[in-house]
Structures are given as C-alpha cells and as structure tokens.
Subunit: 360 residues, 4 copies
C-alpha cells in the first residue's frame, strides 16, 4: 500500500532495485501536452548513479521506455506508463544481506512488516524507486512551465558547508554547472573535496537541499489537511533518507517575535498585492500567495558505509558488517532532481484541483 501519490495528477510507482524494472503510471495528466522522451530522460540523467566522481560508480543508463499515454509527441489524457529496466545487478554484493541487517536500513523493518524481503538489494527502499517520481516530475514540470511556474532545487548545505544562494535568481544552469549541484561555485569546490575525502574514508555525509518554485499563481492549496506545505512535506519526507522539512522561515522563524516574523503587505508598481518579506515561504493558510515558495529538506548521511558496524543477523545473533557494494558517499547531488520532482508533482496536482473546484 501507499504507492500512489496525488489526487488529480496522480502517480503510482512500482519496482524493486532487483527484478524486471522500476517505473511509474501517471494518471490524470492533461491531454495534448507536448512532451518528448528526451525531456523525461534529461531529468532521469540528473538522478542516475555513475554520473560523476562523487556518486556511486554503478553504471546504470536508466533509459526509459514510455509504454502508453503518448501519441505523436502529445499526451492522450490517459495513463502514461514509464518503465526503466534493471541492469548491472551484482547480487553477490548483497548476499550477506539475506541474513544480516544493515544498520539504519529498512531490512529489519521489512521483515517485521511483511515477513518476507527481497534481500538482493534495497527493495522498494532503494533509491531506484525514485526513478518513477523523477520521470513523473519531468511531466509535471512541463505542465507547470506552461502555467508560468519554474522549479529549481540545489544543494544548500553539505554537512557544515553552506552555500550562499539567492533563491529568487538562481538558474538551472548555475545548479548544473558543477557536479555537487550547489550554485555557489566556491562552496561547491569545498563540498566536492569533502565528499571525496569522506568517501575515501568509507564513510558518508548528509546535508540540506533547498528548492524554490517561482511564478506560482496565488490561490493554489487548501486551507486544512491538504495545505500546500503539508502536501509538500509529505512529498519530500517520503524520499529516502529525508529527516526534516521546512517552509519559509522554518525552525529559525521560531526565534523571532510576531512583529519581526509577519510579512507585511504592500502594493507593487503593477498594482499587485505583495509581501515585503517572505517568511511565509510563499504560502499563507495553506494557500499560495504568489511569492516564491521556498522549502528545505534535510537528508541524513547515507546509511551504507564501508566502515565496520555492529549489527545482528535475522535470528538476532550479534555480528559486524561492512558494506561491500558501490554506494554514494553523499546522496545530496542526486537528491536535487528528486526534491524538484516531488515539488512539481504537488504543485501540478494543486493546479488541476484548483481549476476543478474554482474554475481557474
């Protein structure tokens, strides 16, 4: 259960890291949208492993096949099914996992929940599951683009190295200009060095991805359970390794007084009602106010490390384990397109819901 996300623009993902493949069904996509395989593959390439020296050396082309829902380069309005075959599996890398639980992985909880587990990899908890999300996100982004909305994510912080980035002006080109996806070029250098150093130690690190949506019209979102920030939180907190979520001022905002924190209104030169500050992060009462929507997501250090750790076998016997497979010392660079995808899917769903209920 729980493999479907969204209400009108709705995605369902499937697939384990090992087996026939992974993919997604996108239901509710507006018809007649022009979208090419290349646009989808572009995002998958940003997500795939082996793309640079700081990601896992596993080589997976992650070439996608669109099984349905497209005709002559346009969406039909019917389900778009996208499949990526699994390749380059090395089950021997995982044989120990059949009997030994990896610390801070889902092996033990899978056994507790299902009483069965495909130990030849991470199962549904593998980062490969996010392939379907990223593919769906590419389509959501295209819909949003036509509505004037642009979504840009980037690495804000690696461990304690924090980049200086202006979310109001940052561009995709800046993000993609280096392999760590931090638009602050100087900081990016230091981040890359740190990741390489940690990787050589057989250890791992985490950090924070920030993501901005610009051009979102006022009025998206709902006042109660489906607040925009609530759906965004659910979307990104369902990504592997995420441990925290903020919108706008976030946790730091709790250190201000109301008079310091409130976003005062003014009318701009175009006669639009705007806010002087944006501590709300573009959302007030769960509904977008046309200011930039700004979120941050905390990703823990990768659980798979080559250092030896204390653990237990499936029958409870204590033992030690050191990962042998090929893994990312830091998921952050590859998490950027994932966060963007979830933000795009949430906003696209709310765009259609708003049109459905309120007719605009």
């Amino acid at each position: 259960m729980g493999n479907t996300f969204g209400h009108l623009f709705r995605i369902t993902t499937f697939g384990e890291s090992h087996g026939g493949g992974v993919g997604v069904i996108i239901d509710g996509c507006p018809p007649r949208l022009e979208i090419s395989i290349d646009e989808i593959q572009f995002e998958l390439d940003r997500r795939r492993p082996g793309q640079s020296k700081i990601t896992t050396p596993r080589k997976e082309a992650d070439q996608c096949e669109v099984l349905s829902g497209l005709f002559e380069g346009k969406t039909l309005g019917t389900p778009i099914a996208i499949l990526v075959r699994n390749k380059d599996t090395r089950p021997q890398d995982y044989s120990e996992m059949a009997h030994t639980y990896r610390p801070s992985h889902a092996d033990a909880t899978y056994d507790a929940k299902y009483g069965i587990r495909n130990w030849q990899g991470g199962g549904r908890s593998s980062a490969r599951e996010t392939i379907g999300r990223v593919a769906a996100g590419a389509i959501a982004k295209k819909i949003l683009k036509q509505a004037g909305v642009e979504i840009i994510g980037y690495v804000k912080r690696i461990k304690d190295l924090e980049g200086a980035v202006n979310p109001d002006t940052v561009t995709l080109e800046q993000v993609e200009s280096n392999i760590v996806r931090c638009p602050d070029a100087d900081c990016a250098e230091r981040m890359i060095d740190l990741i390489e150093q940690i990787g050589r130690q057989g250890d791992s690190i985490g950090g924070v991805v920030e993501c901005v949506a610009r051009g979102v019209p006022a009025g998206l979102g709902m006042p109660v359970f489906d607040k925009l920030e609530a759906d965004l939180a659910k979307g990104v907190m369902s990504l592997p390794a995420s441990k925290g979520f903020e919108i706008g001022s976030g946790f730091a905002g709790t250190l201000l007084t109301g008079s310091e924190h409130n976003d005062e209104f003014y009318t701009d030169e175009q006669g639009q009602i705007r806010t002087v500050t944006n501590r709300s992060g573009g959302v007030q009462g769960g509904i977008s106010n046309s200011e930039n929507i700004l979120i941050r997501v905390a990703f823990k250090p990768t659980a798979t490390i080559r250092k030896e750790q204390r653990t237990v076998t499936t029958d409870g016997t204590e033992t030690v384990l050191a990962a042998k497979g090929r893994h990312d010392p830091c998921v952050l660079p590859r998490a950027v397109p994932m966060v963007e995808a979830m933000m795009a899917i949430v906003l696209c769903d709310h765009l259609l819901r708003q049109r459905g209920q309120c007719g605009k």
Copy 2:
C-alpha cells in the same frame, strides 16, 4: 477540498470560527471500542482557549456533542459525528477584516483562491478547526492505548528557551503540571514569564513542540509515499502556524557522518532486536522499528499581534492595522494536544492498514 485525512481511520472536519459550529466525522473506527464523552472532552479542554493566563481570554467551553456512532458507551463501527457549537462571537472585533488583510494570515489567499471569504473570523484557518482533530485524536489515542501505544507531546522550546526533557520517560502528569506544558519545571517558569512579557507588549512568540510515541509495534508504515514520517509530516504541517518538521535526528543529523549517525543493532535481554541509538526516530525506511517515534514541529509566532503593521485593503490601498481581538501571544501550549492528535490519527490509521494488508 482537502478536508479529509487518513485512509482507513479517516476524519473529515467542518466548520468556520463563525457560524453554527465546528466538528468532525470519524469514519472507519473499529467497533466495540469503549469511549466516553469525558475522554473526548478531556482533550478538548486541553486545547480550548481561556484555559490559563497565557492563552487568549476568550471563554469557549467547547462542549462537544456526539451525534452518531456511539451506543451504550461503545463505538458502532459507523461514522462518529462530533459537533461543538460556536459561542461568544464578537463580530465587531473582526469588522475591519472585511476590508483589510491581516499580515501573515490567510485573508488575502482566501480571496485569491475562492473569491469569497467569511471575514467574521479566520474561517477554516481558525484554530477552532482543530477541535475536530483533537476530538478524533482522543478516539485514536484510546485505540492505540489498547495496542500498547502511548503518545505524549510537550513544549520543547519557546523562542530560545529550551527545556530539558527525556522523551523516553516523560509523563502526561509532568506535561500537565504547568500551564505552558513544558515538563522541565524551571524552564517552564521562564517560558511563562516570557510569554506574559511578550503578550503585554502586544507581540507574540513561537517555538517547538516535541512529541513521542512509545510502544509502537514494529511494522507500521509503508515503504514509499505513505512512509510513517511522510504521513506524520503531512499531519502536523497541516496544523495552523507550523513551519517545520523533524523526525529523529532531523536537521542536526545532517552534521554527522554516517558512522556517527547510523543506529547499530543489538539483541536485548528479552531477545528483541533493538538499536543502540535512535537517530532514526523509531522509523527506518518508512516503517516503525519498535523504538520510540520522536518528532518535532516548529510553530511560528502567532500572526495576530496588537502592534501596528503595514498592510493593504482588499482593493490594494496601503494602510496600517493593529489587531483588537483577544488572541494567544503564543500558540505552543494549546498546540501540544493538536500535535498529539495528529500523531495519534496517523499511527491509528497505519495500525488498521497494517492489520488489513498483513493480518497482524
């Protein structure tokens, strides 16, 4: 839209701050559960305004009526409808709101979304909406209690005053022993002083609520979109004024390396597989691991302040506004039962879903 939450244990809330009343329909509650009106009212009383000198002086008894779903003190398995009438309304306090947008409130976004707004209060964004959640939470807590699960929330921080609380041992009695609901008695005193001082200034402050679930069996949650942390994040990020969410190590965990962060396994004296640390916050891969589930929620300073602020009218004319109504200088003490309620509803829903799919 978006007024329903949960999949098997499912709640739908209704009602504005002004009008006939507010309430909830709880669908999917197991039958034959013993629950009294007093148990529901107990939680509503923890939430209601006017309960102490540091909450709004509005006097609202918030007496609930159960319209359906109970018979001779037990649940029928059919929808439980609970209604709380609105009282003590002073529309004159709000007349200015018909034409002037309150900064960091939802007035402007409601107009953008719906093109209409009940200006006699906060509408669905009023904290009164949470009455339905807290009532439903009382029932969810009772179901969880029978499954051995206990949920305790408390104020962890007010502005920069942080209490020392052990989530593994904290009790409801400790939480309820002071009006700010911080179990660290010394810190609580300082918090109360600070809230009173800020209130006298016509300003407001925020902080952090922490909430723990103890005794959760391993196996609750889902591996992908409906990860336990994702549903918890959605639940609490849909509460008014929340700006951030963390589980386990949260944002601070991003400063550790993997070898520092991972929760190593061991087998305890009862032969149970446990983790040495709990940076995962009781959830691995979206599924509970039987350790305590620990979350934190950031609440911004109350938007309503008596200080004069710059704003605009509905037609865009710039003006100033100072709130005249009776409001909380700090929502945190009353947010505690709200966070507990959302956590209880999420865990109860997953308990039933797990039983449905996996039969245990």
Copy 3:
C-alpha cells in the same frame, strides 16, 4: 468505512435513525454558488416520510440546519455541513429488534460484521441516511443547472404497472403532480390504488425508478473504472433496497443484434454530431456524448411488512415476527429524489473532474 462518495465533489454522511441526528459534509463545492436553505429543504420535503397517504405515517419534519460553508447566501468553497435532528422516535416499536432479526434487513449482517448494533432502528441502513445524500444532491443540482444540466426522476413502474413517460420531455411539474411521482396520470391512479391495497394487507411492493439527465455536455466521464455508467451504478446501487441498474437499452438491449443496437451518427441542423437512436443512454465508452443520459433502478418491495414471517433470534432460536412500526408499503415515491440526488452528485463530480484535468 465507506461513508464518503465522490472525488472532487465529495460527500460524507453520518447518523443513525436513532441518536442525535443525521447529516452530511459536502467537500469540494465550488465557491460563490448561490444556494438557499429553501432549495435544500425542497428536496428534503420530497424525501421525507409522512408526505402523503401512501408513505409511512411517521411525521418527521426533517428540518435542516446548515452548520458551515455558507455565508450571505453563497458557498464559501469550504465544507458545507448539514444536520437534521432525529425526532418522533418510538424505541418501543423496535424493542423486539434487539433480539430478533427482521428478514431481509441488515440486523443479522450488522451483528456479523461489527459484533454490535444499535437495535433502536435501522442504524445506518435506515432510509434516514439518505437525508444527507438528498441535501447534497440539492446543491449538486444547482451547480449542474448553471451548466445547463437538468435531472428528472420518476416512478416508471410499480410491480407490473408501467407508466408511459417520455424522458426527453417529462417535467418536474408532471412528476410532482401526483403523490406516487409517475408522470403518466392514469397509470399513477392505478399505482396509488395498488399501493394502498397492498398496504392494507400488511404487505409491500417494489418497482422501477427511471431518471434522465438532459443537457449534459459531451466529454464527462472516464474511459476505464470511473466510467459514467459505473459511477452512476455505484451511486444508485448504494441506495437502500436497490437490486438492479440499467443504462440506455439495459438488459433489453441484449436481445438486439449489433446492427439493430448501434446508435448511428448524423449531423443536426446546428452542425452538432448527434445519434439517431440513444440505446447507449447518453454514454459511449464511459463518456457522455451530449444525448440524454437515461438510467433505471430496480427497488425491491419494502422488507418491513406486518405479515408474520419466520425468523430467528440473535442466539439462533427460530421464531416468528410481524412488524409493528409505521412503514412505507412502497419506497418508490420517496426513492425518486434519492435517485436524482445520486445522479446529480455523480455528474457534478465528473463536471469538476473534467474541468480539472482537461480545463473545460
């Protein structure tokens, strides 16, 4: 579970025949719709018992109260909660039901499912549950009316007495011109006589309600599971006492060949593509084609009869039972507004869904 219906225009009903009351929450209603209590009450009055000599003599005013979602005569876009209090209960009429199962009622299945039952009436299986549906239907009808859609139901057949009615021209006035709601005045007389005669015998009869939607734009509905006829079938088959559903040619259409059954296309004087016949019932491939949508619903004879019947007690002891309460000898006249309501709710939901996905 299962007390919610609809996807964008979504209703949740609550309440038993005995207890505080029954009602509905309507979520997803478009904002700024003008709707008065009188318009809702009009439909409830068509549904209520005691409205004529051929319905149950129970007197229930069924006066509705709108608790939320309306402001100055217009919808707010937020949940509309409607409550009708229970009155005129005579629990003594039902005391035997605590221990004896009524044949073809839900008493026994409730006990099997929930292990508990409010024996003071029919619980959720009471026709009172449909109050919420009819109230929601009044609002759905108003939305549809603004889109040019009109829904008219009527009694087509009572037992073997079948009225001659033209669904393309029948009017509400014709339907309401007699107490049995059959627009064929001559047949209506005979139907009324038959119902009275059967009622005097302490027995009951059933029949068929037909319902037409005129002016439905082409394009509503979905090609697969949410076909218009599938959602209509679910809607009306969830009404108490319904045993069968047809759209267009229905079961009789299975006696024709394809060349006899197919609806050939032509272009009318306005240049619109139309069909010569309408055996499809206004829906092709699950999607409306702008022809009139025509459905029929079979309602069994009322289960409650004053004749003595063989039955068992809750502990399985065989006994006999004859109903003592006041009941309808025929539900058909009161079923007409129920069928209309469900058809309106389904079409309204699909209207909003179509606008959401396809933008028109």
Copy 4:
C-alpha cells in the same frame, strides 16, 4: 483519471491497444502469498482473443511478464507490476478511424473529452485494457481461495437463448467444457451455432453473464456508499459493453410482494443462521450474509460489425462505414473471466478492509 480501482487491494491499469503494451499495478496485496506466473497466465488465456472459432481470429499470445512484487514465488507485499506487450497490430485496419467515428464506439466521445485520440485502435476503450484486470483478478482469486471463497462465472444467456445453470453447484470444469462458457451443454451448442451464424452475417449479438461467489464469510461490505452490491456494480459496469447489473432477484424481484420476496431466516443443522431463499443475492444492507453472492451483467452486442452503417467524419460530414478489422461477433465468452476478475477484486478488497477495521 479513474484508472485506479479498490481501496486496500488496489489496482491501476495502463495501456492502449496500440503502443508498447498494457498492464496493471496491484498495490496492497498481502505478503507471502504463493502465486505462479502460470496461475496468472491461465486467466489471461481464458480472456485472450483467438482462443476459439467464435472469438476474433486475431492471434495474441498475451504472454505476461511480472516486473516486480514477486520473489521466489511469493508476493512481497509491494506493488506487483504486470506487463503484456502489444503484438500483431494492423494499423491499416484502423486508418479509416482517424477520420470516421464508429457508431456506438468511444471515438467521438474521446475527441469531445480530450481533443486528441490514438485512432490506431480503441485506445483505453479496447478490450485489451481488461488484461490488467484479469491478471489482478487471478491474484485476488488466490487470496480468496485461501479464505474459502470460490468465484465462478458463466454465460447465462446469448440473445434469447438462456441456459439452465444452478449457481450453487456449477463448476469451473463445466464452464470450460465448451467454447461459449455456458455450463448447460445443450444450450451451449445452440449458442455457438447462433454466434457463428450472426458472425457470418457480419453482425453481432449480446447476452448476460452470471457470476457466483460461494463461501464468502458474513460481514464483508459496508452499510452505505461502499455496499458490496454498489462496489460490484461499479466493478462490472466499468467493463466494456456492459449495460446492466443485477444482484439476487434483480429487476424480476420488483414483481413480487414483500412477503414473497423476503428471505426468511432459519438455523441449519450446524447451528448457522441461514436464509430459506436467497433473493437478497447473499447481501443484506450492503453486507454479506454468508449465502452465495449472485450477480448478473448485461453485455450489449459488439459495436464493431461488418455491416454498413450511417455515421459522420470528425468534421461532421455524413458518410457510411463498415468495419474491416477482425472482431468478436459476441463478447460474452471472453467476458466471463472479466466479470469473475472484477468480482474477485471487489471481494478481496472488502476482505482486507474488514480485517483492517474489525480485525477479523
């Protein structure tokens, strides 16, 4: 939208008749269920075209591939994705469809809804869409079998030829003993002759499929919208070409009085509460009563015929059309596994929902 069905046992289908393939994702399947590809393929073979002289001569092996969710012959509890590739397409058979609407097909309504259409076949309205349903049904049947439930469908009537079949004793072997799937051998002969004769004329015929579920425990279903008969109606009315649905006495039951129609209770030799008759069709108040659940579905004559028919082109020009492709003169034999699949999916979903809410 609308490509997902079910609440806990939930399927999502994808794919057009032309393109990469068709398939299904099954979410919520209980873990550790033993299921083989052969068991799934068995049902697909009952559905596939070209299986006998009375079905379309199109040869489609419809070989399925399980992409995920199975491991070493058992379900993992995660999504089961099943893909069947498209083959043997003859787009030239359909070229006329690009510009000419086939009577009683969905071509025109697709254009009205989406403004775009894959004219190389029936798109989502193709019977190929049901491959995913039948594959999912095979799994649902296996789950039900372990709960003691058996589902058997058969052709009850072809045009006016009605077979004599006892739903309480009919076996799968009897159904599969002839190519028309009517267990009344004599009638089956006449049905086959009639279908061949009609096929030679380039025409088509319809009929009625009856389907029984035996061994269903009492207590499945819901009292209001998700009544068992409502979900069954939706399930089968979403199949291509279905025009009507009945449960138990159906439309014929409306000709009886209440005293004739009611199912009196008695206690059988095992002490079980049973009903003397089964006009309720195994469901009372939306909930199963442990008697056999019996439904009937009307299927119209196949819309595709080789006889010349009046129609219009996409720009409204009147013309004539005679189908050239290879089609079934009667869908009934292949509809049997489709009806069984939908009934199995509905019952399986309610089995899990009942366990979730009521714990049994």
